[in-house]
Amino acid sequence: MSQSFAVAQRVRVRNDAPKGHCRTPHYLRGREGVIERAYGAFRNPEQLAYGADGLPKRELYWVRFEQGRLWPGYTGTATDTLVAEIYEHWLERAE
């Protein structure tokens, strides 16, 4: 499952619904965006939240989304964007 992504690559946030703690907001699941920046590897918060050591570390990416595609009837402009930090195991390649 572990994979790395390149800046400017198109990705999709996995449309998953795990029971426990995670840092992927619901409104971004299943949505497509572009890798804006690679932040390096961090301990996995989904394990840290339960007292585990969070290893192996997971790559964390800054993913950019187009607001007009996130929200039906978005009233801002076509260039407005949103960025969020998403872990590698929540991302898959998009075409």
Binding site: H26, P45, L48, A49, G51
Partner: protein, 107 residues
């Protein structure tokens, strides 16, 4: 399923209350408690654990409690879970504090 804390895009279409509030003693003490417990020299509670504890609050409490009230309940949950304090000693202490403060206020 969306967690109670996961608010991005939810239909909470009210105006933002921009009033400034000074921190209360209670808020400062809870914040200090968490800083001490999460300090790497102690490592009792991680911030990820604090969040998990907050997220498991029932919806009525999540929205009924203030920010630091959510924190102190999460800290309680985690300290009990880790066996740092026991439920029995905590409950006894709460009653002791209640009686002491009541006595102080009538003095």
């Amino acid at each position: 399923m969306r967690g109670v804390h996961d608010l991005g895009g939810q239909p909470i279409d009210e105006e933002i209350d921009r009033a400034e509030h000074a921190q209360t003693f209670f808020e400062k003490r809870v914040d200090a408690l968490m800083r001490l417990l999460s300090d790497p020299s102690r490592g009792v509670i991680r911030v990820d654990e604090l969040r998990r504890g907050v997220e498991t609050l029932p919806e009525k409490d999540y929205f009924g409690y203030s920010y630091y009230e959510r924190w102190i309940h999460s800290i309680r949950l985690l300290l009990l879970e880790k066996g740092v304090v026991s439920e029995d000693e905590l409950n006894r202490r709460i009653e002791g504090v209640r009686k002491r403060l009541a006595a102080e206020s009538t003095r």
